[in-house]
C-alpha cells in the first residue's frame, strides 16, 4: 500500500509542478503580453491615484491632486473649473484625459525623463511618487475678464497673446464645463457627471479638440489681412494702389455675384485704396486681388500665416489645423478671399496671424507654459520665446499695421479704440448660410507702435448688431486691462 501512496503523492507533486509552470508563465513569461493587452486598465490606472503635479496660474493651482478616499490616495481637483476647463482639460478614470492633463501627462505624473532621479529617490525613501508642477503664462485677471465678456449662453472664444513672445495671456471659450464632475472616483457619479456635461448644447467631451485651439470657423473679413499681405508682397500692388470697388462682383463661371455689404460706406466709391477698403471692409477689392494674383499666391500667404500648419511644440494643447482649400475655381477663390466658402480658421490661428503682423512679420510660437518644476521646486524646463515662422516682411507688416490703426481710428472697428493708445484692428463678419446669423470677429493689437498685447475675439451665430457689441468694445476692455497693469 505504501508504494501506491508514494505514487499518489507523486501525482500530486506533478500537478503542483504544472501549477509552478502556469504561475511562471502568467507572471513572468507571458506578463508582457498581458500588460500590453488593450483591455488591461492597469497601465492606465497605474498612476491614476498618484500625487500628480499641479497646474498653476498666477501662483495659485487651477488643477491639483488633493487627498482622496479609500480607493485612491489622491484625487484631482479643479479651482474655477469652468474658467480653465479649455486649458486643463479633464482627468478621468473612465473617460481618459484631455487638454494639458493629457499633453503634459509625463510631467504631471512624474514619469518624464527629467524626473528620473526623483523617481529613484522616491523608491529608496519609500515615498509616494509625485509629479512636476506646471506654471502657465496665463494672467488670471485677464482670463477672468475675457471669460466674463462672453455672455452666458453665447458661443464664443477670446485669445489674448503677447505678440513679441508668443505667450498666451488669456484663452477662453464658452460654453465650458466643470471637469470636477468626472474627476470623481465613484463610477456612478462619474457617469452621471459625464452625461450632465454632454447635455450642455455645444459641448461634446468625445471630441478631442474644441475651443480656441480646436474649433474651425469661417474667418470672414479678417482673412482680408492675408489678401493684403499677398498683394503687397507680390510686387503688383503698393500702398497707393487703386483697387476696383464695384458694388457687386460677378463671379466668373457662375450666375452669382459677390456683393459689398449693403449697409456700409463701400458703395460711395467705385474704386478704393487699401485704407478705404480695409476701413470699410469692402469685399470686391479683395476678391479682385485674389482673382488677379491667383489662388497659389493667396494660399502661399495663408500658409505663411499658419494655415495648414501646426502651432509649434510649445503650445501643449491639441489643436486643429486651419484650412485654405486647394483647387478652387474662380468663383470659389473670390469668395474664399473674403474668408467665406470653405476657408476655416481656429480663433488661435487668427490670433497668430495678427500677432505676426504686430511682431514685424515674425510669428512667435504660441506658448502656454512658463515653467515646469520638480516636486523640490527645481526648474525642469522653462520654454524661451522662439520664432515659429516668418509670415511677411517688416515693411509689409508695418504698412498693414498702419492701415489697421486707421480701421480702429476711423473705420468700422472704432469701438476698440482706447484713448491715448494707438490700437490696430480688423473686424470680420462671416455669414452662416442664409440664416442672417454670423460669426463676428475682431482681431487687433495695441499699442500699434510697440505691441504689447494682441486680442482676437469671435462670437458665433450672432446677428450683426450683437456681433458689433460683443467684439470691438470688448477688445477695448481687454486692451485697457492689459496695458494699465
Amino acid at each position: 500500500m505504501n508504494h501506491s501512496i508514494r505514487n499518489a503523492w507523486m501525482a500530486a507533486v506533478a500537478m503542483f509542478a504544472l501549477l509552478f509552470g502556469a504561475i511562471s508563465y502568467v507572471q513572468v513569461i507571458g506578463a508582457g503580453d498581458l500588460n500590453d493587452n488593450p483591455w488591461n486598465q492597469r497601465a492606465v490606472l497605474a498612476n491614476y491615484c498618484n500625487d500628480r503635479g499641479a497646474i498653476i496660474v498666477g501662483g495659485k493651482p487651477i488643477a491639483e491632486s488633493v487627498a482622496g478616499d479609500e480607493t485612491c490616495k489622491y484625487q484631482r481637483s479643479y479651482a474655477q473649473p469652468e474658467l480653465y476647463a479649455g486649458i486643463t482639460g479633464y482627468f478621468s478614470r473612465t473617460y481618459g484625459s484631455t487638454g494639458l492633463e493629457q499633453q503634459l501627462r509625463d510631467e504631471l505624473a512624474g514619469s518624464s525623463d527629467q524626473l528620473f532621479l526623483d523617481r529613484v529617490s522616491q523608491i529608496f525613501l519609500g515615498s509616494q511618487p509625485k509629479g512636476a508642477s506646471v506654471e502657465l503664462t496665463l494672467d488670471p485677471v485677464i482670463q477672468k475678464l475675457a471669460y466674463d465678456l462672453i455672455p452666458d449662453g453665447q458661443r464664443g472664444s477670446i485669445v489674448v497673446t503677447n505678440p513679441k513672445t508668443g505667450a498666451i495671456i488669456a484663452m477662453v471659450s464658452k460654453p465650458s464645463y466643470d471637469p470636477n464632475l468626472i474627476a470623481t472616483h465613484d463610477p456612478a457619479k462619474e457617469k452621471a457627471g459625464y452625461d450632465q456635461i454632454n447635455q450642455v448644447p455645444g459641448i461634446n467631451l468625445n471630441q478631442s479638440v474644441s475651443g480656441p485651439t480646436g474649433e474651425l470657423l469661417a474667418p470672414g473679413s479678417v482673412f482680408k489681412l492675408v489678401d493684403t499681405a499677398a498683394a503687397l508682397s507680390s510686387g503688383k500692388y503698393n500702398k497707393d494702389s487703386v483697387l476696383p470697388n464695384p458694388d457687386s462682383l460677378p463671379l466668373p463661371g457662375s450666375s452669382a455675384s459677390l456683393p459689398n455689404y449693403a449697409g456700409g460706406n463701400c458703395s460711395t466709391r467705385n474704386t478704393a485704396d487699401f485704407p478705404f477698403a480695409l476701413e470699410q471692409s469692402c469685399n470686391t477689392p479683395f476678391a479682385s486681388i485674389a482673382l488677379d494674383l491667383g489662388q497659389q499666391a493667396i494660399a502661399d500667404q495663408a500658409s505663411k500665416f499658419g494655415f495648414g500648419q501646426d502651432f509649434g511644440d510649445q503650445l501643449k494643447l491639441q489643436s486643429a489645423v486651419s484650412i485654405f482649400p486647394k483647387n478652387l475655381d474662380q468663383a470659389a477663390l473670390a469668395q474664399s478671399a473674403v474668408g467665406q466658402r470653405d476657408v476655416r480658421a481656429t480663433p488661435l490661428q487668427i490670433a497668430m496671424m495678427t500677432a505676426a503682423i504686430a511682431n514685424k512679420g515674425v510669428q512667435m510660437k504660441p506658448n502656454l507654459i512658463k515653467t515646469v518644476r520638480a516636486p523640490d521646486l527645481r526648474v525642469i524646463s522653462e520654454p524661451k520665446a522662439e520664432a515659429l515662422r516668418t509670415s511677411t516682411t517688416p515693411d509689409i507688416a508695418s504698412q498693414i499695421t498702419q492701415w489697421m490703426t486707421d480701421v480702429v481710428s476711423q473705420g468700422i472697428a472704432s469701438g476698440a479704440a482706447v484713448p491715448g493708445v494707438q490700437v490696430a484692428g480688423k473686424t470680420g463678419t462671416a455669414q452662416l448660410g442664409d440664416s442672417g446669423l454670423n460669426n463676428s470677429w475682431f482681431t487687433g493689437f495695441a499699442p500699434a507702435n510697440d505691441p504689447q498685447v494682441a486680442v482676437t475675439i469671435v462670437m458665433e451665430g450672432v446677428d450683426v448688431s450683437t456681433g458689433a457689441k460683443l467684439t470691438s468694445p470688448n477688445a477695448k476692455k481687454i486692451f485697457e486691462a492689459v496695458l494699465n497693469k
Binding site: A8, W9, F16, V26, A31
Partner: protein, 455 residues
Amino acid sequence: MILAITTPKPRRNVELVLLVLALAVGIGASAMVGLNSPAAFDSDFWFQSSLLVVAAFAFHMILRFRAKYADPIILPIVVALNGLGLALIHRMDQPGEDTGNNQLRWTLLAMAVSIIVIWFLKDHRLLRRFTFISLAASAILLVLPLVPGISAGEVLGASVWIRIGPMTFQPGEIAKITLAIFFAGYLSSNRDLILLAGRKIGPMQLPRFKDLGPMITAWLVSIGILVFQRDLGTSILFFGLFIVIIYVATSRISWVVIGVALILGGGFLASRFFSHVAFRLDSWWNAFTPEVFDRSPGGSGQIVQGLFGMADGGLGGTGLGQGRPDLVPFANSDMIVALIGEELGLIGLFAVVMLYMLLFTRGFRAALGARDAFGKLLACGLSFAIALQCFVVIGGVTRLIPLTGLTTPFLAAGGSSLLANWIIVGLLLMISNTARGPVDTTPVTHAPTEAVQTS
C-alpha cells in the same frame, strides 16, 4: 516496514518555534495591510492578531496533551495560510464591509471544532465504525442544498448553499470529509476481495463487474452534483478523492484508467448538455475573444482580470495594499490566488504554493507511517483532496485548466470551507500522532481486526 529503532520524539517544541514564525507571517501581512490603508492600525489589527495568537497557542497546547506525537509542521503551515488569508481578506474589505472579522470568527470556530474533534475522538480508528453512517451523512449533506425551505437557492449559478437563520453554509464542504471516511472505511474492509478477483488483460487486471459498484456510485454522485447543483469543481474533487483512495487501496492502475475515462466521458457529455459547463470551457479556451470577455454571466472577464493582476504583480508583486485587485471580481474568495500573485508577486505565490505542497506532503507522510489501512487511506485521501483542490483552483486562475468554483483552502473567504479544512487538519494530526508515536499495542475497543499489508 522499517522498524523504528530510535524512540519516538514528540517535537512539540519545534512546532512552537515554527508556530511563532507562522504567526509572524500572518500578523506581518496584516500589519502591512494596515500600513497601506488609510485607517492605519485600527482596532481590527490588534483584535485580530491577538485572537489568532491565542487560538494558535491553544491548539498547540491541546496537541501537547492529546496528540503529542502529531506532525509538528502541519499546524504552523495551516496557521500561516489562515493568517495570510485573514490579512488578504481584510485588505479587500471596503468601508462598512466586515468580511475580515467574519472570517476571523469562522477561523476561531473552525479551530475550536478541530480541537474538539482531537480532544474527544482521541483515535482516528474509531471513525471506521461510522463507515456507513458517513455514507448516509454524505448523502444528506449533498441533498440539503436542494431541499426547499433550507436551500439558499441558486447563488452565482450553483445551488450548493443552505441557509440557517442569518448564516449560509456549504454542506458539500463537510461531505468531502464524510465521503473520505466512507471510501476509506469501505475499501479498507473490502480491498482484499476487490484485489484478488478479476480478469487480467495484458498488464492490466480488470476488476469484476460487481466490484465496480462503488465506483459507479461515486461517479453517479459526482455527476449528480454537476447536474443538480451545477458545481463542476466539487464534482471533480469528489471523484478524484474516490479514485485516489481506491487506487491506494488496491494498487491497481486499472482503477485510475477507468476513473479518468469516466471523468473524461462525463465531462464531454456535460459540456454537450449543460450550458454552464460549456460556458466554462469556452471561457477558458477562448478567454481573449471579445464576445467571451464581455459575456455576462459566464464570460471570461473574471479570469482575464485575474491574469492582468498577476502579470502586473510580476516577480516581486506590487506590495500588499498597493495593487488593484478591486478590478478582479471575487478577489477575496475565488480569485484570492490572483490577489496574492498581484500584490506578493511570483515569489509570494510560489511560497504559498510551496506551503500547500509541504502540507499535503506531511499528510502523505502520515499515511505512510499509519499502521492501519483505514488510517492510511483516510490520510491519503484527505491529503490528495487538498492537493487536488489547490490544483483545480490555482490551475483555473492561471488558465491552466477551466476555472471552477472551488475555494482555496484556508485562504479564501468562506466559513464552510474553513471549518471543513480545519477538521481535515485535525484528522491528519491525529493520524500522524498514531503514525509517529510509540506502537500502541492495546487494540481499540471493539475495533474489527484487520490485515494490514505493508510493503
